[in-house]
Symmetry: D2
Subunit: 369 residues, 4 copies
């Protein structure tokens, strides 16, 4: 199957591995008539770029994107948009030591079992560099959503054990600290925690939260393509993510119905909800409230401590993974999660257009022609 | 789009609503030559049937399945298997009171916004009866997995705040209590808790855990069709599920890399892992350890307490939902989650068959012909 | 894969075999708010029903359809529409003679090679009865198209060597003869020809033509989902079809560019074409002219003459196929082809809705909300 | 939808337009372990390259391909193979004259209606250059088929009215004339015909035939994914193709059953057919005989004669299309058709792997592990 294609109506195909010539994405299904230039994409790629603080890898990746197709005179043409980023700072030598060893916490063993061998350089296709294509496509999706009045806001909700409490939340802080935390004091605690991890040759994880404002009610399909189901797949398909919650998520399992149900009310002519335990999705369909999603990001598996493992030949051995690895991937994962959410929402919105005869007639009816 | 089709190589289409004539599923992609009869499916449907204890709805649903196609002389033919269950105990009158009101915690409002109106009887398509089709397909998937030496074991890990600790786990208890809890003492505590909920006209949620034994390593795709991503979508597509975790899940976000990484070791000629924080999936590909997944199930939204809501005309009002509703859906969700996991694994296994040239040659090579 | 699912935005899944309990279809993606009842479907099923003249099989098939889901109070709800037709007149005994023999011109040998064995009764899944599901879905698609001002007209263009010349065409004749020929004189010639075939224990083929009026320009995708490509697949997926042409088709290959190109002109404010060699599709996209498609239908393979063949055990033998078989399938194929064309057009129209930002804003824009 | 993705198990995404920076393809689902280098692809691209004779456009297109991902140390890794060809000889100026005019026989009008505007340079996405991606993917598919003992042979069966009779067929001639005709005498007649077309500022079409040798029986799905249906879509999705036939095709519609049926016989232990009117496919499933397909290619629409048309503003006008256009596209279409056939066959073979329980056990059974 391959599994490098995502989406139905807004469909992306990513390609490329850590140490190949380039990585990229083909975005099929972008509507015609959207203003788009490379700079629109570059600002998103820059958010995932390494080397932005001491808490991310020191690898230098320019990651300049090139739009190869699908845009004409500054507008999307409705045909596939191909975006490519060349791989530059490759250092293949760094990886020869791990050629015949399975790194704990990595997909190495699975790749060998699945494919019979693997491109061991930097994780090959399972490298974080694969997400460049996702972020490029996400930038386009976010631009479309903005034109429809929909905003996607994403940040770190926790760094390791340091969680941002609701009363600490200050979205203006997100860009002011290296962890994308919406809280100055939490950022300070997180810094202490991650510095300890670094000093111990260890790594940290965290939780990313995504909030979508302005989503119309009525989007999502009632059964397998529930909006929360497609969001869960989208976000769980990011390498380090091990859990996804919508709204209260796991906490809802401990609540009673009377606590967890959100009461409906009127705000003028608009139906609103007084609370949002559901995270903006009921029965798989958006309810007009903010969509709220959280993803658990595991600690970076590449650590310099000695770890027990085995070789591809079946001998037990120790491995120490040196080289330039992120002690925490959360800050760079924020924009990847934001991108996957936006791609999923575009796909759901486009697919939803034929849900009602009256909408179809608005476009194709004999009156409309 | 519709969104009632799931899977690629093992593809199911469910249909039917709470108060229509019947519900069912078409399973396309079942390999030829599998022994199959209605009884194989019925035992699974019976596990999801209501009325089995005082903790599930008193509605009587015989839910007898009929195989309409795809089986000949006791063997699957490789063509679509159509399974139908007639709707019997319908009581449409019960629902007239909620025709023009949005029930809190339900998809009513979303349906109206999406489709312009809705079949309000018993939730229509968003009713739990839709899952009958999933369970019928799951029974077939589980039968296929068994032939490959793969077992799926599912149970309640928590009922409301009552969690089963690892040291309490006793799988033989699962069938001995109405909650599918693998612990006698936890079942007793759960009983007390749910009885309180019932007495308060309230409802409870819980956590379901699924464990897959015997899964070969190397299954799953490295990018969007990661095994955990497709499992997350599958399980999150069940109505009441609000969160999904793989392995340590959200707990992994608080761990350090040295704690979360699973060391590889040799067990004779076999590669094994000494721990299983990853839940059997690394980089989206199975690693040969047990696959471990947890789903958060929210409390049943239909409760008899008065709740604030609005009418479809936009008037604020109160609603009390009477009728026969499950005070807790978790025990009946267990087999639904098991089914969705099994369907997803079959799909992944079948799709994986063309991952290697040597496997392809085993089937089509000139030597094999 | 299975391959019993067709379409993306308007997606149908057919199921059932000749001698199973029933045949049917699930239609996923029908927009909400369309008036629909069983009679709407039945009139189309009656057009494909056997036993309507001496030129079709004498089998009696009542073929009464039942809508099992997706319609509420006379309107489609937007959820899957399940339609079932029970198999009645089965006569399984008729087929025991061919259990271990490969019938020439049939899929028997392919089925055995593919699946390891087959349901030999009446062709099993490759029976013409599978098309009942297509016609039921086609009836729904045609109803949607009509609401958009699009009509699909289908008829026999040739019966064996008897072709209807352009100057003979009279669409009012289509329903006046058992061959669906749009010409009284051609129908008379055809009758003579087919009677000869019958007397010789032989069978006949023909050509079906489909003409779509009122199709808006601009529908279809520029590359793999060209409108003619998806139509070709749809029509070629009908059992007896061995060729598909759009517009002038194979004749175009002999023409010069100056002859084959259609000049554009203005008709008031509307762009029109002065000729229609292209059959209403240029570069895979509708051009506003009538869509014109022809399908070659092979002669019925089941004939009573002795034919050389082999047994499943590998012994050469003779076979004579008795029983009630259509001496010509063309008249019954007309409505099947019409259905597949209509399904394909609905799918293309729905998928096209997100092709332009201005159309998307018409549905979701902040002004529209 | 976009519609630039083709296939299920072997899935390709093409991108790029005539005058963008580059064109390319991402091939997802190539099995791991296939030897592959750029030269393997280049030889196929060279067959479609223009400027090879006076009968194809004089445009110079180097069309050198670059593999950007998915190959490691000379072997495919199982991950997406991205192939890019830069656009060099672009001459955008040539096209300014047609910016506001709809060219007869082209998709210009449809593009404007669909997308609201178009990239008018060289046809944009509907340019023949889009097929570069298909041919690159086809080269990979053909390499896989060869490893399974399957050969695809493609040639011109007719150039305009000049047809190669069966008794003239000499496959060794295909590479000896500029038309890819398998007949020296037909090539000579074709030369005269096309020279006349050129001298009249006109263009020619033709018929391409494709023959697949060594295809195993039992491949293809019984209903919508019939092998002939997917082949028809694949081939009809090529810009200039207006008709597709399998085996006797339209001629079969005039034959009687006794003439059209192919008798089965034994050749030692192998089941064979004595004739091949069916073109190797019965009921949508391969029957072990050669697969035989023909495609009608229309005459090139770009001609220098004056033609009636209209402007995008709605004014009637005349157009003469100068510049470097192929007087006949057939010779260059041969390798494109061959590619689409091969891609379709790989997809069908891979999808077929899970059709039988015994095949699945060969790969995953407990014995196999």
């Amino acid at each position: 199957m391959g599994g490098s294609v995502f989406g139905n109506s807004f469909k992306i195909t990513t390609w490329g591995e850590s140490h190949g010539k380039a990585v990229g994405v083909v975005i099929d299904g972008v509507p015609a008539g959207l203003s788009l230039c490379e700079e629109d994409i570059q600002v998103f790629l820059d958010r995932r770029k390494p080397g932005q603080s001491k808490f991310t890898t020191a690898r230098k990746e320019g990651d300049l994107c090139e739009i190869l197709s699908g845009v004409f005179e500054g507008k999307t043409t409705g045909t596939p948009i191909s975006v490519m980023v060349k791989n530059e700072d490759q250092h293949s030598k760094d990886y020869s030591a791990i050629q015949d060893i399975y790194r704990p916490g990595h997909a190495d063993y699975g790749f060998n079992e699945k494919f019979g061998f693997r491109d061991h350089r930097g994780g090959g296709r399972s490298s974080g560099r694969e997400t460049i294509g996702r972020v490029a496509a996400g930038a386009v999706a976010i631009k479309i959503l903005k034109e429809l009045g929909i905003d996607v806001i994403t940040y770190a909700k926790a760094i390791g054990p340091v969680e941002v409490r609701e009363d600490q939340m200050d979205l203006s802080e997100i860009t002011e600290n290296p962890f994308c935390l919406p809280s100055k004091s939490a950022a300070s605690e997180a810094e202490t925690y991650v510095e300890t991890c670094i000093s111990e040759k260890d790594s940290a994880g965290g939780v990313v939260e995504c909030r979508v404002k302005g989503m119309p009610a009525g989007i999502g399909e009632p059964v397998f393509d529930k909006l929360d189901a497609t969001l869960a797949r989208a976000v769980m398909s990011i390498g380090a993510v091990k859990g996804v919650e919508i709204g209260d998520g796991f906490a809802a399992s401990k609540a009673k119905g009377s606590e967890n149900n959100d009461a409906f009310a009127m705000d003028g002519n608009r139906v609103i909800k007084k609370t949002n335990h559901a995270g903006g999705i009921l029965g798989g369909i958006s309810d007009g409230a903010d969509i709220l999603l959280r993803a658990a990001v595991k600690p970076t598996p590449s650590i310099a401590q000695p770890q027990n493992t085995v070789t591809t030949e079946g001998t037990e051995t120790l491995i120490e993974i040196h080289g330039r690895h992120d002690p925490i991937i959360v800050p760079r994962a924020v924009v990847v999660i934001e991108s996957m959410v936006a791609i999923t929402l575009c796909d759901a919105l486009f697919s939803n257009m034929s849900a009602r005869m009256d909408h179809i007639k608005k476009i194709y009816g004999t009156d409309a022609r």
